[in-house]
C-alpha cells in the first residue's frame, strides 16, 4: 500500500503558472530600457539588452515546457486542462513578442526621429502597464484556489481582467497615434526606417494584445 495517497496528489499547476508569469514580466519589463537605448542609439548596449531579453524568453519557455510535461491527460483538476494550456500559450506569447521587438531593434541600425521619441516611450509604458495588470490579476489565482472558487474571488479577478482590457485599449490608441505621427515624417526619413519603426510599434502592441488574450483565457477558467 505504502504511499498510494501521496501518488493520488499531483502537483498543482498554479504555482508554476505564476512562476511563468513572473518570468514573462521580467522579460517584457526589459523593453523599457531597451527602447530608451534604441532612442539614444548605443548599439553595444542594445546588443546586451537584446541578449538579456532573449535569455529570459528562453527561461520562460523552459518553465512553460515543464508545466506542459506535468499535465498528463489523466489528471483531474479544479481547472480545465485545455484552459490551462491555452492560458500558458498566450502568456508565453507575451515573452515571444517582447523578444520579437528586441530582434527588430537589433536587426537594423535605425535612427529614431526625435518627433517619435515621446510616442515610443508612451507606448512602451502603456504596454508594460498592461502586462503588469495581468500579473496583478494572476497573483489572485492563489486566493481563487484557496477559496475553492468562491464568487467573491471570481468577481475580483473578473474586475481585474477588465482593467487589463482597458490598458490594452489605451495602448492601441497610443500605437495608432504614434503610427500617424510616423507617417507625418514620411518626407523626412527613409522608407525602410518607416517600415521597421512601424513594425516595432506593431510588435510592441502585440505584447499588450497577448496580455489581453491571456486575461481572456483566465475568464474562461473562471466561467467554468
Amino acid at each position: 500500500m505504502r504511499d498510494i495517497i501521496a501518488k493520488l496528489f499531483h502537483k498543482s499547476p498554479f504555482e508554476a503558472l505564476y512562476k511563468h508569469m513572473l518570468k514573462v514580466k521580467e522579460c517584457s519589463d526589459l523593453l523599457k530600457p531597451l527602447i530608451e537605448t534604441f532612442i539614444s542609439g548605443d548599439r553595444e548596449l542594445i546588443d546586451e539588452q537584446v541578449k538579456a531579453i532573449s535569455d529570459l524568453e528562453h527561461e520562460a519557455d523552459i518553465i512553460k515546457n515543464e508545466i506542459r510535461e506535468h499535465l498528463p491527460y489523466h489528471l483531474f483538476m479544479s481547472i480545465d486542462r485545455s484552459d490551462i494550456l491555452w492560458f500558458l500559450k498566450q502568456e508565453d506569447a507575451i515573452a515571444d513578442s517582447a523578444e520579437d521587438v528586441a530582434r527588430l531593434i537589433e536587426m537594423r541600425e535605425t535612427e529614431v526621429p526625435s518627433e517619435l521619441e515621446e510616442n515610443l516611450m508612451e507606448l512602451v509604458d502603456k504596454v508594460l502597464e498592461t502586462v503588469d495588470s495581468l500579473k496583478t490579476t494572476t497573483s489572485n489565482i492563489k486566493l481563487l484556489s484557496q477559496s475553492s472558487f468562491s464568487k467573491k474571488e471570481e468577481e475580483k479577478i473578473s474586475d481585474l481582467i477588465k482593467n487589463i482590457d482597458k490598458k490594452e485599449f489605451e495602448a492601441d490608441v497610443i500605437q495608432q497615434n504614434a503610427t500617424k505621427n510616423l507617417f507625418l515624417l514620411e518626407e523626412k526619413i527613409d522608407p525602410v526606417s518607416i517600415f521597421i519603426l512601424m513594425k516595432i510599434m506593431k510588435e510592441l502592441g502585440s505584447v499588450a494584445d497577448h496580455a489581453q488574450n491571456t486575461g481572456d483565457r483566465l475568464r474562461c477558467i473562471i466561467a467554468r
Binding site: M1, I5, H74, K152
Partner: protein, 410 residues
C-alpha cells in the same frame, strides 16, 4: 493453549500482519494531516498509536467476527476441528506472504483484500465452495466497491457545505467565527461518541448509547465554547481570511486524524486477529460452531501490533507521504479524513472488512469533484482496481498451497 506450537505460529503471523498494517495503512489514512502541517510527524505518530489501539480494542470485534466465522461456514469442521485450525493458519500465512511480496514490489495491495482472498482460498480447498458463505462474500465485495464511492460523496457534500458556509461568502472570517465553533463541536461529538460508546460497550453488559451521547454532548459544548472564545480573539480584518480559516482547520484536522486512526483500528485489526480469534474459539472449546465472543486480549494484541508498526516503521512512511502531499490545505484534509473515517467506522459496525486507504482515496477524490484540490492523478484508481483483481486469486492460491503443505506435514 499456549503450549500448542501452531497457536504460537498463528499469533506470530497475526502480529506480523498487524505490524504491517500499522506501518503502511495508518500513514495513508493520516498523511494529509502531516502534509498540510496540521500535525508534526511526532504528534501524528503518537495520535495514530493511541487511537488505532483503542479503536481495535473497543470496536474491533465486529469485523473480527466476520473474518473469524462469517466467511467460512465452520459447521463443515465439526468432526475435524484441527483442519479448521490448519486452514486459518494457512489464511494468515497466505495473506501475509502476498502482502510481503506486494510491499516488496510496491503494489498498492490492501491487507483486507488479501485476507478475504485467503479465506476464499481456504474455503474452496477445505470444505469446497459450499462451505463459503457467498452471501457474506458478496456483501464484502460490495462494501469494497461502495466504500470509496460513499467516501467520495460524503466528502464532496461536506466540502460543499463548508464552502457554502465559510469560504464562498463575502466575509469568510466573520462566518468562521460563527460556524467554526459549531463545526468543531459536531466533530468532537462524533469522535467522542465513537470512543466513549466503545468504552461503555466494553465495560457494561446492558449497553445503551444514552451515557456516551450525554458525555459527548458535554465534550462538544466545552470544545465549541473554547473555539468560540479563541476565535473571538481574531480581529475582524478580513485580510488573509482564507489563511485564518486554514489555521483554524488545523485543529479540526487533529481531531479528524485521531478519528481516522480510531476507525482504522476498528476495521483493520480484524485482518490480523480474525483468524487467530477463529483458532482460539476452536482450541478453547474443541468445537467449531461455538458462539464465543472475540476475547479482549486478542484485540489488544492486534492493537499492540498496530502500535509497533506505527512507531517503528510508520514514521518513515508517514514522513514520505507527508512530504509528497504538501499541496493539501487543512480544510480539505479535514474533510477527507473525517469522511473516510465515518465510512470506515460504519462499515466496522456492520462487520464489513474494508480498506481504509481506499475509503481515503475516495474521500480525496470527492474533494476534487468539489474543486477543492489543484490536481489529482486518477491513474491511482486504475492501480487500485488492478490490485483488487490480482489480490483475490493470488492470496487464495497461496493459501491453498500453504494449506496443502500443512495437511501433508502435520
Amino acid at each position: 493453549m499456549l503450549e500448542n506450537p501452531l497457536f504460537i505460529v498463528a499469533v506470530a503471523v497475526g502480529l506480523y500482519m498487524a505490524v504491517n498494517i500499522g506501518a503502511n495503512d495508518v500513514a495513508n489514512a493520516m498523511g494529509t494531516s502531516v502534509g498540510a502541517r496540521s500535525l508534526s510527524l511526532r504528534k501524528a505518530i503518537i495520535l495514530a498509536a493511541i487511537f488505532s489501539f483503542f479503536g481495535a480494542l473497543l470496536l474491533g470485534s465486529y469485523v473480527t467476527e466476520t473474518i473469524s466465522k462469517g466467511v467460512i461456514d465452520s459447521t463443515y469442521f465439526v468432526d475435524k476441528p484441527s483442519f479448521f485450525i490448519y486452514g486459518m493458519i494457512a489464511v494468515l500465512l497466505g495473506s501475509s506472504i502476498w502482502i510481503t511480496i506486494a510491499t516488496y514490489l510496491k503494489l498498492p495491495v490492501s491487507t483486507t483484500h488479501s485476507v478475504v482472498g485467503a479465506l476464499i482460498g481456504f474455503g474452496l480447498i477445505g470444505p469446497g465452495s459450499g462451505g463459503i458463505n457467498w452471501r457474506v462474500v458478496i456483501n464484502i465485495v460490495l462494501s469494497w466497491v461502495f466504500s470509496p464511492i460513499i467516501g467520495a460523496l460524503a466528502s464532496y457534500f461536506l466540502f460543499i457545505l463548508i464552502k457554502k458556509r465559510i469560504l464562498d461568502v463575502p466575509r469568510p472570517l466573520k462566518s468562521l467565527k460563527k460556524e467554526g465553533p459549531l463545526l468543531l463541536g459536531i466533530v468532537l461529538f462524533i469522535l467522542s461518541t465513537a470512543f466513549i460508546g466503545g468504552c461503555f460497550k466494553r465495560l457494561s453488559n446492558n449497553f445503551t448509547l444514552f451515557y456516551p451521547i450525554g458525555i459527548s454532548l458535554g465534550v462538544a459544548i466545552v470544545g465549541g465554547v473554547g473555539a468560540y472564545f479563541s476565535l473571538k480573539r481574531y480581529s475582524l480584518n478580513e485580510e488573509n481570511a482564507y489563511e485564518k480559516v486554514e489555521n483554524f482547520s488545523k485543529i479540526l484536522q487533529i481531531l479528524s486524524a485521531s478519528y481516522v486512526a480510531f476507525a482504522l483500528g476498528t476495521n483493520d485489526v480484524a485482518n490480523a486477529v480474525g483468524p487467530i480469534a477463529a483458532i482460539i474459539s476452536v482450541l478453547k472449546t474443541q468445537e467449531v460452531y461455538s458462539q464465543v465472543c472475540v476475547p479482549l486480549w486478542i484485540l489488544a494484541l492486534g492493537g499492540a501490533g498496530l502500535v509497533i508498526g506505527i512507531s517503528v516503521w510508520g514514521y518513515r512512511v508517514m514522513e514520505t507521504i507527508g512530504k509528497k502531499i504538501t499541496e493539501i490545505m487543512p480544510t480539505r484534509g479535514f474533510v477527507a479524513e473525517f469522511s473516510a473515517a465515518t465510512v470506515v467506522l460504519i462499515c466496522s459496525r456492520l462487520g464489513m472488512p474494508i480498506s481504509t486507504t481506499h475509503a481515503s482515496v475516495g474521500a480525496v477524490i470527492g474533494i476534487g469533484m468539489a474543486r477543492g484540490v489543484g490536481a489529482l492523478n486518477l491513474r491511482v484508481i486504475r492501480n487500485i482496481i488492478f490490485s483488487w483483481l490480482f489480490t483475490l486469486p493470488i492470496a487464495a492460491g497461496l493459501t491453498m498451497g500453504v494449506y496443502r503443505i500443512l495437511i501433508a506435514i502435520l
